[in-house]
Symmetry: C2
Subunit: 330 residues, 2 copies
């Protein structure tokens, strides 16, 4: 099953069910008003939504064309966003390049980020200054229903209801300053962008394995290939990230949990999913970073497709812009 | 003006206006359904709410007695909770006791915490294990309306609409492990508790000065005085914390920003607002921590009153319990 959110003028948008080729949709009217509502009542709405999911394909006449460019993020806002850093290769490269000590942790790395706004996959994204080191981070993430405190990793697997693909925007000039405090990131982590289609794990077939999205995430920067790193190399599966997050709190329905930037051991061939990692590789290979961060007007495109080339999450394809040219509304 | 939230069975509760002695209330029916709603439309609702605030006192007959023990947190959930650590004395004591290097930062310290649940001031608070080092943290906090990205500290002052008093529960066995990663705290910071009454800054009179709550916060643990540290010694005022938080993001209406544990230079007389700080003082004075963390069944009470002894935020007075004895609902 594939779900998306149309802009109907409300903060949470309108929930729609999308066909298996992402070509058309039907509104989920009468089942759930929006995806956040659906997550809180998943056991009740999953069946009716799955039944409705057969409709756009069985009856193309009553379905409307799905315009992913006008879709909002599947959850335009949620109560909680927790982002992991589950690809060990990314940490190894950063440590090697910047002569950092290994992070002392026998558990997943995770921080809490802002969840009151997620940009759609094709929205322009405003930043205050190019000097902040504007960077993308290609990630996979999952959305859970209510997870009771103390849930085991095995049990957590069943709470993973949807998988999404996102861009965790980062400001690299600020990030190390905040990280040194031990308090995590506030200024360095503005709102993320999310590809338009949230899919149930079964849509991934064999590419959903051991709580991992075993697919390459194609990243292009200004039309040039930047990386195709594969999601399979997570040190911890998403079910283990969920259990980590739920160790001392209930996870509210609609909590989004991210993988961290996708990164592979064979980075020479796979490339990277963020500029920061590429700069680390520059450092290792050339003694200095040669790749610059993003400028206003730059575009980034991210897409993971199925092994046989079918669309899954839809596309992130967006520009960075100056915040001074955009008036944001409350 | 004083606002509170009654339990009406909805996740956000019912907004009520409380009299200036916290003795009675009238529902804000027709003005705003709940406080989160009111924060999003503050410019429209502040006047009608202020007019209504005269009613409970002018007309005691139509007002009902305010039972703070059955009140929810003013915001039982919100889209964002950002907690500072703005009392330098607390950091100095922790560094001295544990031989830590000073935190390198020329800006406020701040992390993002969970905001999908805030306990009421008298609710039992469930924890998984006493071994996690259960600790309270007495704090003041502010609630803002929508703050545009890049707002200055001066302009931020006007966005501070309400002041609250809260208990930032912390798990001290986990906290240093998470802090070392640089990612901030997830497991070490479960849901906070909030005293029942949110007050507009003018309710504090001269005790609201330069963005600080210049009042002692009385903390009692199992009926014994633990501290009376004063909120005036913040290194940064709340308006500066708001501007820090808004540097690279819009702050969504209803964002709560905390002071960090209240701590004074004259800690020998003022005492502390969290056990962790007391243990640091033990270390400095005796070479080892003598104060243990909380046990199931322990109570903590926190209250800041006005200089002339009138109630303000109401009282936090609650027990810690084993999560195994409490069934939480989604």
């Amino acid at each position: 099953m594939r779900l998306a959110t149309r802009n109907n003028g409300t903060p949470d948008g309108q929930l729609v069910v999308v066909s298996s080729d992402n070509d058309c949709f039907v509104a989920a009217n009468g089942i759930a008003t929006n995806l956040l509502d659906a997550m809180t009542r998943w056991a009740d709405v999953a069946g009716p939504l799955a039944a409705l999911a057969k409709q756009p394909e069985a009856n193309q006449d009553s379905a409307e064309a799905f315009d992913s460019a006008s879709a909002l993020a599947p959850l335009p806002r949620s109560w909680q966003w927790l982002d992991g850093s589950a690809f060990p290769q990314h940490g190894l490269l950063m440590q090697k390049a910047f002569h950092l000590p290994p992070i002392e942790s026998d558990r997943p790395l995770m921080y809490q980020g802002m969840s009151d706004r997620f940009y759609g996959g094709t929205a322009d994204v405003p930043f205050g200054s190019e000097k902040d080191g504007i960077d993308f981070e290609g990630e996979f993430a999952v959305i859970v229903d209510h997870v009771p405190m103390g849930t085991s990793a095995d049990d957590a697997m069943d709470h993973i209801k949807l998988v999404v693909q996102l861009n965790d925007w980062s400001l690299r000039t600020i990030a190390p300053i905040e990280m040194k405090t031990g308090f995590g990131w506030v200024q360095a982590k503005p709102a993320c962008s999310v590809a338009p289609v949230a899919v149930t794990p079964d849509e991934l077939g064999a590419s959903w394995s051991n709580g991992r999205v075993c697919l390459p995430l194609r990243v292009e920067w200004n039309g040039k290939r930047f990386g195709d790193a594969d999601g399979s190399e997570m040190e911890y599966g998403f079910h283990e990230l969920v259990a980590h997050a739920a160790a001392t709190r209930d996870l509210v329905a609609g909590t989004i949990i991210g993988s961290g930037t996708v990164s592979n051991r064979d980075y020479a061939n796979a490339g990277s999913s963020c500029i920061s990692e590429r700069r680390a590789i520059d450092m290792i290979e050339h003694g200095e970073p040669k790749t610059q961060f993003m400028s206003f007007g730059d575009r980034v495109r991210m897409e993971a497709r199925s092994r046989d080339g079918r669309p899954l999450f839809g596309v992130i394809d967006q520009s960075v812009t100056s915040a001074k040219t955009i008036v944001t509304e409350p």
